[in-house]
């Protein structure tokens, strides 16, 4: 599942640590997400999208 977390994060000038705090997870989880090595739960996907001021379909490509 490809995602655009890094792209959106860079646009907002957020560090991985900042995003982790906003989404309520550990920084390592953001690293895993950005490298497409972890499929998040629906709640985490929602929290990450919300933290990035976007929506799940915009951030995560399910195809």
């Amino acid at each position: 599942m490809a995602n655009r977390i890094k792209e959106f994060r860079n646009k907002l000038n957020l560090t991985q640590d900042d995003l982790a705090k906003l989404a309520g997870v550990r920084r390592e989880t953001i690293v895993f997400l950005e490298q497409d090595k972890y499929n998040p739960s629906l709640k985490l996907a929602h929290d990450v999208a919300k933290a990035l001021g976007s929506s799940i379909p915009e951030i995560f490509n399910l195809e």
């Binding site: 982790a20 705090k21 309520g24 997870v25 550990r26 390592e28 989880t29 895993f32 972890y38 998040p40 739960s41 709640k43 985490l44």
Partner: protein
């Protein structure tokens, strides 16, 4: 407190507890270590509450679940194989039999606990809270009753009679090495 500070405190705390625990065991004090363990766990829980950051998230729980399942499978296989070996060698040394039985029962207990927790998360979590509590209390008393009957029945044990250890029933372990008075 940050998560890094918490990790340092936790490791220091565990090392400190391990030293106290081993010293107490070495001094043949077997009750105090239980108190130390409970006090240590409570203290760690209190410290954990002071942490501002996220200690573990959903990825940690998912990884932990996979690791636990694999650990149970590996332990199950190792314990089962060792149990058969120890049980097969019981004629060469009678002490091997209780070791084999301990491995067998510990594996069964581990599987039972795993199954119970799996069932809880899979189905029972949808049930009413009071019903779960009642079932847990009943199961606890049932296990304690079976354990008490087995432990205090006095069957299959070594009894001290006239300065000698005499078999009572069919104990599956050798006579105690301590002096019979």
């Amino acid at each position: 407190m940050t998560t890094k500070q918490y990790q340092v405190v936790k490791i220091t705390f565990v090392v400190f507890l391990a030293v106290i625990f081993s010293q107490l065991m070495y001094g043949k004090n077997y009750l105090l270590p239980i108190g130390v363990m409970i006090a240590g766990s409570l203290a760690l829980m209190l410290i954990r509450r002071r942490v501002s950051g996220v200690i573990a998230d959903e990825r940690d729980y998912a990884t932990g679940g996979k690791a636990a399942l694999l650990a149970i499978q590996i332990y199950g296989w190792l314990a089962a194989c060792s149990m058969f070996i120890f049980y097969g060698l019981k004629d060469t040394n009678p002490a091997y039999e209780p070791i084999g039985m301990t491995l067998a029962f510990s594996t069964c207990l581990l599987m039972l606990i795993y199954s119970a927790i799996f069932r809880y998360y899979n189905r029972i979590k949808l049930m009413d809270g009071k019903l779960i509590y009642t079932v847990l209390v009943l199961v606890f008393f049932l296990v304690m009753a079976v354990f008490s009957i087995r432990l205090f029945s006095g069957e299959d044990n070594w009894v001290c009679q006239n300065g000698q250890w005499v078999k009572h029933g069919q104990p599956n372990f050798p006579a105690p090495q301590t002096e019979c008075k």
